[in-house]
């Protein structure tokens, strides 16, 4: 099974084409094919992660060409962790999406599902590749597919996505330029090879510029404050099932690239000694957490509130990266996982409310708690986790981030992490009050609402219970998977 690392993106890529071809003849077959492709990739990813846990990193050389000549795929703790996460969320979102798509965009199912598969192929490619340029290729595949599926929304979606296209392309260009500079300086594109060469030429200005460009590029991709301006509109106007798929994983992959650079290419030593780039990321993130949480409080549109909340939460991840110490990085990685579950759950709930009641304005949610019991129960769990109350998983990412802040002696960051929990409490409890306590004014849309159909409710409940389970077993994940990643860097 040496091909494990390659099977994952390739199977997704193949099913993307098969889905499109078959879909032109029979629309009803697209969904099963999509599901099959995703399940295959997920099973392979889980098998891969188990192998990594047993035997350590798996390498695969395309065409048998060893690096630095050929393209290398690496399945290590970091990429194994990310692939399983991305594929698991993808599986739940796709199961969830069928009914939602049928209601919102029934005639566009064939292109939607093939593009979803293509995007997932791109995302897993980004995660698994050990080659800097190959990463760029997959970055473009994933981004172009994502632009397309997000634009299939209501009238405002294409306009919103245009901004994303422009910003995203600029981001990709920055990354490519950075890689170009690295190639100039080192003559290599293989991550492991570059990491070996770099320490000898740490003084080189090319490397400083390359690093800066790559960080800016990824900051755009992951919507790091203040480069987030494309995100709220896109998350608001795209089809709800698409947002439920993209919000938990897309920006996280940008964060993954940053962490990969930190862990496998530049190494933290360089980042802290030559150029205080991590510290800058940390400060931007700290400002972003506060500013975006306040923006979330100001929103009346539920989807927009969640969008701003997403920006604030990705800033948590960035803050953990910015701390550049073991606890900070564990906090960042754990928050990638935890937040994927929380935001996946929340966006699916938002879609569920839209599916059953056609509502997205928070003031109209009054009384929903009575009529959508399970959905709102899941919302309560996710909200409590976002505030960071144990045993929900949100508490533990906060715990590691606070430990990281204290280790770094950075009190401002510690206060920001803690204070933002209170801001989260403000905007989530406001919704909870509305949903449970304000009596419905006998609005027929509310009184007629019920929990969404099982196909949509099941993923919501799986994610909600996952939030609690992840909280309870967080130490297993930290010691088995995250600590080996961190030990690579520090």
């Amino acid at each position: 099974m040496a091909q494990l690392p390659a099977i994952i993106p390739v199977s997704l890529l193949l099913s993307a084409f098969v889905a499109f071809l078959v879909g032109t003849f029979s629309r009803s077959l697209v969904y099963p094919i999509t599901l099959l492709g995703i399940v295959t990739a997920l099973v392979t990813a889980v098998m891969g992660l188990i192998r990594v846990l047993q035997d350590g990193a798996q390498h695969y050389y395309f065409g048998g060409w060893p690096p630095p000549l050929g393209i290398e795929y690496v399945l290590d703790h970091l990429s194994g962790f990310m692939t399983v996460l991305v594929m698991f969320i993808a599986l739940l979102s796709v199961i969830y999406s069928r009914r939602s798509f049928l209601q919102e965009v029934p005639e566009k199912i064939v292109p939607l599902y093939s593009l979803v598969l293509l995007m997932l192929a791109g995302l897993t490619g980004i995660i698994l590749t050990g080659d800097l340029f190959n990463l760029y290729v997959f970055l473009e595949i994933a981004s172009l597919a994502a632009y397309a599926i997000m634009a299939i929304g209501n009238d405002k979606a294409p306009v919103a996505v245009i901004r994303y296209v422009i910003m995203g392309t600029i981001g990709a260009c920055f990354y490519l330029l950075g890689v170009g500079f690295i190639y100039f300086a080192t003559g290599s594109l293989n991550m492991g090879d570059v990491a070996r060469i770099l320490p000898g030429i740490y003084g080189s200005r090319l490397i400083v510029v390359a690093m800066t460009f790559i960080v800016i590029g990824m900051a755009l991709k992951m919507a790091l404050f203040p480069l987030h301006i494309w995100l709220p509109d896109v998350y608001t106007y795209s089809p709800s099932a698409v947002v439920a798929l993209i919000a938990p994983i897309m920006t996280k992959v940008g964060a993954y690239v940053l962490i990969r650079m930190l862990v496998s290419v530049f190494l933290p030593n360089y980042l802290t000694s030559v150029l205080p780039v991590t510290l800058m990321i940390g400060w931007l993130a700290a400002v972003g957490i506060v500013a975006m949480s306040i923006m979330a409080i100001a929103q009346k549109d539920f989807r927009r509130m969640l969008a701003y909340s997403s920006v604030a939460q990705i800033c948590y991840v960035a803050l953990g990266i910015g701390l550049a110490n073991p606890f900070g990085l564990i906090g960042a990685l754990l928050h990638i996982l935890n937040h994927a579950f929380m935001k996946g759950c929340l966006f699916q709930i938002s879609g569920g409310i839209r599916y059953r009641a056609g509502l997205w304005q928070i003031p109209q949610f009054a009384g929903l708690g009575r009529h959508m019991r399970w959905t709102m129960g899941a919302f309560t769990v996710a909200a409590i986790s976002m505030v960071g109350i144990p045993p929900a998983c949100g508490f533990f990412s906060k715990w590691y981030l606070v430990l990281g802040c204290i280790d770094a002696g950075n009190w401002v960051f510690a206060v920001v992490v803690v204070a933002s929990s209170l801001l989260n409490a403000v905007y989530f409890f406001r919704v909870l009050e509305k949903v449970y306590m304000v009596p419905s004014n006998n609005d027929s849309t509310v009184t007629a609402a019920s929990d969404p159909p099982g196909e949509m409710l099941a993923p919501i409940l799986v994610l909600a219970s996952g939030i609690i389970i992840l909280g309870v077993i967080n130490a297993v994940i930290v010691t088995q998977i995250l600590e080996p990643i961190v030990s690579l860097a520090f």
Binding site: V402, A414, S421, E433, A475, E483
Partner: protein, 496 residues
């Protein structure tokens, strides 16, 4: 200190959690739902009580579950300090359950299933707090308690209730977050969080870091313990149904904060270190200010429950004063007062609840002649008022006696004056209610009309328990021996 492996502390935490699940599932059948509440409370009390003998013999049941953060496990240990808190909370849950049934049914309140479910979760969290073997486990249950109490505070769902809920969350979530920082800092300094009698900070942490660390703990725990200036959520939270005010806002929640101080001072800092950094004096002064100021504030409250809430703040101050003074008898007085105040204050809240159900009066000015209408209720009220003032033969006298001795043993006579003065002030805000009830004339309250037996029996029982603990301080529950045991283990070698 000896520990032996036992499932009991874990079971004590899980039983109410299981009960909450069963309560939720039988929401459509009120009788079965209430049966689960009562069964859960009796079972929990049984388990906690069964751990009493081994705790008295200094053999602590302990269970270490799984790791929750590198180097820190989710672990429970039923040591003597934990038993004091756990026993008083679990014993009073039984009476509160019965009182709740009477209260909620008489008022035919809505959403009773949510009420009983959250109540059980609160008790589970309280047990987790009592038996937590390390600071992180403590923090986890401390935060759970905050959230689980919220639906009870806003039970009425009126705009005022929602407002009170917001205030409650703002205070207690902030406290919890500050506590998390304090915990993380402790972990960074020492690499461990396990409670150990006499503390684990001494010798490993630089002296100048200790006072800031304690200030963080002070804010984090002071919020829940309603220490002035962090107290104002408590009177506001009185909008909750009376059984909630009785058990949670006089026993479980606020005592969790006070109990946190016991843990942090006795089992994290250790008395010697705590005194050296000057934190003892700081806390004692804050507690004294709390005692005097809220006694005065209590006098100005016309709403009965608000007056009782301020009185709670006063008595939490007693406990903190005792703990801060660090002499053995002060500790005994403070710890015994955790149980004694619980039994007394819960009686007064039960009385307030019974009065409300029967007459819908919330204000003291409306209580003229209520003693003629509800003589048993007001008799219990009068009896327990004597105890809260600190006069024999009630249990309040016992705590105050030891606290007083403790101030002298610590060589801080000034605090004795605080205690004596506050006794007078207590009388000043409690006795007028009794006088009004029995001696003021009112034409409409002449007929005997008590609340239902489900409410009357609990309040008579808790009043009698208060009397019993005053006559036999070490009876049945052995609170006195337990407190002495804690004081010896924590203060051994402290030389004060």
């Amino acid at each position: 200190m000896e520990a032996h492996s036992s499932l009991k502390p874990l079971v004590a935490v899980l039983v109410p959690l299981l009960a909450s699940l069963l309560i939720m599932l039988s929401g459509k059948r009120p009788n079965i739902r209430e049966l689960w509440t009562v069964l859960g409370s009796v079972a929990m009390f049984g388990i906690v009580f069964s751990m009493l003998p081994s705790a008295l013999g200094s053999k602590y049941p302990e269970i270490v579950l799984f790791t929750i953060s590198p180097g820190i496990a989710l672990a429970f240990r039923a040591d003597t300090a934990g038993i004091i808190f756990g026993l008083s909370a679990s014993a009073l849950w039984i009476v509160t359950s019965i009182f709740s049934i009477g209260y909620m049914r008489s008022l035919s309140e809505e959403k009773q299933t949510r009420y009983y479910t959250c109540f059980a979760i609160c008790l589970s969290s309280a047990m987790g707090i009592a038996f937590a073997a390390n600071l992180l486990t403590f923090v986890i249950f401390y935060e759970m308690l905050t959230i689980a109490t919220y639906p009870l505070v806003i039970h009425k769902e009126s705009p005022e209730a929602i407002q009170a809920g917001r205030k409650y969350l703002a205070y207690l979530l902030t406290g919890g977050l500050v506590l998390i920082i304090a915990t993380a800092l402790t972990y960074k300094y020492t690499g461990t969080l396990d409670f150990s009698p006499g503390g684990f900070l001494s010798g490993v942490v630089e002296q100048h870091n200790l006072l800031p660390l304690f200030v963080l703990f002070l804010v984090g725990l002071g919020m829940k313990a309603a220490l002035i200036p962090f107290h104002s959520w408590l009177p506001t939270a009185m909008i909750a149904p009376t059984p909630v005010s009785a058990l949670l806002h006089a026993v479980a929640v606020v005592k969790a904060g006070v109990f946190g101080f016991v843990r942090v001072i006795g089992f994290v800092f250790g008395p010697t270190l705590f005194h050296e950094i000057g934190a003892g004096n700081m806390l004692a002064v804050m507690a004294s200010i709390t005692i005097i100021a809220s006694s005065l504030l209590a006098m100005y409250q016309n709403n009965l429950k608000r007056r009782l809430a301020y009185s709670t703040v006063v008595h939490l101050g007693y406990i903190l004063l005792g703990v801060a003074l660090l002499s053995p008898s002060a500790w005994v007085g403070g710890l015994v007062h955790i149980a004694n105040h619980a039994a007394m204050k819960i009686t007064l809240f039960f009385c307030a609840g019974a009065i409300y159900v029967k007459t819908h009066c919330e204000n003291i000015s409306e209580l003229d002649g209520i003693g003629r209408q509800m003589p048993i209720t007001m008799g219990a009220f009068a009896l327990v008022s004597i105890g809260l003032v600190g006069m024999p033969p009630l249990n309040g006298f016992i705590s105050k006696w030891f606290l007083g001795q403790g101030t002298l043993a610590a060589g801080e006579g000034i605090y004795l004056i605080v205690l004596l003065l506050s006794g007078l002030l207590n009388a000043g805000y409690l006795f007028p209610i009794v006088r009004r009830a029995f001696f003021a004339q009112s034409s409409k309250r002449t007929k005997f009309a008590e609340a239902s037996i489900l409410m009357l029996a609990p309040l008579v029982l808790t009043a009698l328990i208060s009397l019993f603990l005053g006559l036999v301080p070490d009876g049945i529950f052995h609170f006195y021996s337990l407190a002495g045991n804690v004081a010896t283990s924590v203060l051994a070698g402290a030389g004060r």
